[in-house]
Symmetry: C2
Amino acid sequence: MVSAKMYELGTKKSTIRTIFEFGRKRAAEVGEENIFDFSLGNPNVPTPDFVRDAAIEILQTYEPAAVHGYTVAPGNPQVRETLAKSINERFGTNFAGKNLFVTSGAAAAITICFKALAESGDEFITFAPYFPEYKVFVESVGAELKIVKVRPEDWQIDFDDFQKLLSPKTKAVIINSPNNPSGAVYSQETIKKLTDILKQSGQEIFLICDEPYRELAYGVEVPWVTDFYKNTLVCYSYSKSFSLPGERIGYIVVPSEVADFGKIFGAIAGAARVLTHVNAPSLWQLVAAKCAGKKIDISPYERNGKLLYDGLIAAGFECVKPQGAFYLFPKALEADDYAFCERAKKYDLLLVPGADFGAPGYFRAAYCIKTETIERSLPLFKKLAAEYRS
Amino acid sequence: MVSAKMYELGTKKSTIRTIFEFGRKRAAEVGEENIFDFSLGNPNVPTPDFVRDAAIEILQTYEPAAVHGYTVAPGNPQVRETLAKSINERFGTNFAGKNLFVTSGAAAAITICFKALAESGDEFITFAPYFPEYKVFVESVGAELKIVKVRPEDWQIDFDDFQKLLSPKTKAVIINSPNNPSGAVYSQETIKKLTDILKQSGQEIFLICDEPYRELAYGVEVPWVTDFYKNTLVCYSYSKSFSLPGERIGYIVVPSEVADFGKIFGAIAGAARVLTHVNAPSLWQLVAAKCAGKKIDISPYERNGKLLYDGLIAAGFECVKPQGAFYLFPKALEADDYAFCERAKKYDLLLVPGADFGAPGYFRAAYCIKTETIERSLPLFKKLAAEYRS
């Protein structure tokens, strides 16, 4: 009667959802302040005042039709020009408005790219640990997702395994740096090696960069990938940088240098059309342009990350030092990360098993929460670790 | 290299787009005020002040995280409760928040329903004249769209033809009342007869009501369809009523009485997930709730419709009197409606051929434009009609 596949996708409870519901139940029993919920990637730094002020100013001073009317499918032309200029100022690039397609956030951006590119039998490659919705989105456009195995010593790329997975069927490679869930930032060296391999493949392979965490990097540079490889599509979202996840605003950068710009931009427009993403929310398009280039304060995340990292190391955990995003991805204290996360629940520590991200034996701890909650959680992590040693 | 289908969908210029571009070119030559553009369905009544005030108040007084954070996929629970209550007050229904799935406008709402329901080999039925994107959206979910032929005497339903198209493959029937492009509102009698046929079919057929124009009805009632038939899904958008087409906000009503509520709501959630519509823009969710039940002023549209209708009748056109939306759908003055619309361009009258909506021999004139423009266009319509008589 309904699509069995859609029913399954809409009702199979995710691990994070199950953890979330457990947290709500426990909070009702023991009080909100006694739950240490590291499960959600919801930004806790408030939306910057300049964003709110820009939205209010636009609502108060612009003609309503200019704010709320349909924009053309790729977005308001002036907004696209402004955003392109801002990207150029930051990265020394040479984009124009025509190189941007404004979208309803990064999930829409990447799915539009997948749908635009995928032909029957195509394969997409990504790297564990990875955002699990990639699999759902890639399969929904009729392609197959191949996963390169982890490189846990630094969460960079296992190039040997990558080269094994490359095939004539490879349509695109998806990278996510700064990474959810590992917190790693791909270095210049990693990006150079990756793009060299793509160049040497003799195929037109696209590199799709999913970059919602671009601005959340702590003391390291996040390489701008179009500098390295012409067939690069950059997907961006304001969800994390401006703490606007509910408003759904982002964009795709399509460089003029990609193999056949017209074909790709046209296919992106077609994919946006059938996915009914023809017009990203128009007020937020204007706000993004008005706030282009404004600096955000990432110090609360940096502070939280350091606090949690130092605390876990002191408690005896093994963990690669995070360089970006707002996640730690430490090794679980037993091989079965599900069992480990279950055991952590005894202390009301809510953690997500690494297997959910294609990396069994690890766990994700999102530190976009109150600093004080992290402080109070550290003795509990110590107790948990002590249990494993006894 | 890219999906050929997506490229085609993204680049094949629509008739309306071609007309729009012609209009821009002519405006540059003869001045904006000398172009009579009846081609676009973009609301010209400004967004009501109460909508703007609600948005500003929310931005100024709510916690940013409560405004801009992720909502759960079906939408903010309190918003859904408020909207359900408002629907109940207007239509005497008994919905709760769980019966609503908030979406990014009506295009997303209908496409989510199509995707949720469609299985391989399914057919969807709609009625000419019809919104041409139905075909794109239905085909994009792997189903086939069957078109019931026109009933030009009143733009209600040709039930004989409808019954011929009903088959064991029929998954759903799509209606759009008030109708784009005909301006017709389906009467109680039409809805009763349609739903009686569906009941007698012995199949679980869904009725999808695409209702972005619900509030734009002039002196006639728009029947609330869930009163007539249990397997009804109502898709709504604030694009026209609140003049917010760029903001993408609407909802799906899923009555508890539908055959297997859990299955259908679950499949809708799955479809929203793969179409990356998991969270309608969160500020606009709150605005919709804050403005629930507020009355809008449709008199500018009603005045325009009457003025254009009377003018066209006086000029010798045949046209069913519009009852809703903001379109007239008169008979073209020659059998070839494309040729007719080309000829109208000589007078800078920009009209859309009816064939684009599955009704050759007619044309659409959108009257959501300045009243003064309509007034000045009437002598030109007269001249055009005179040409055909000479």
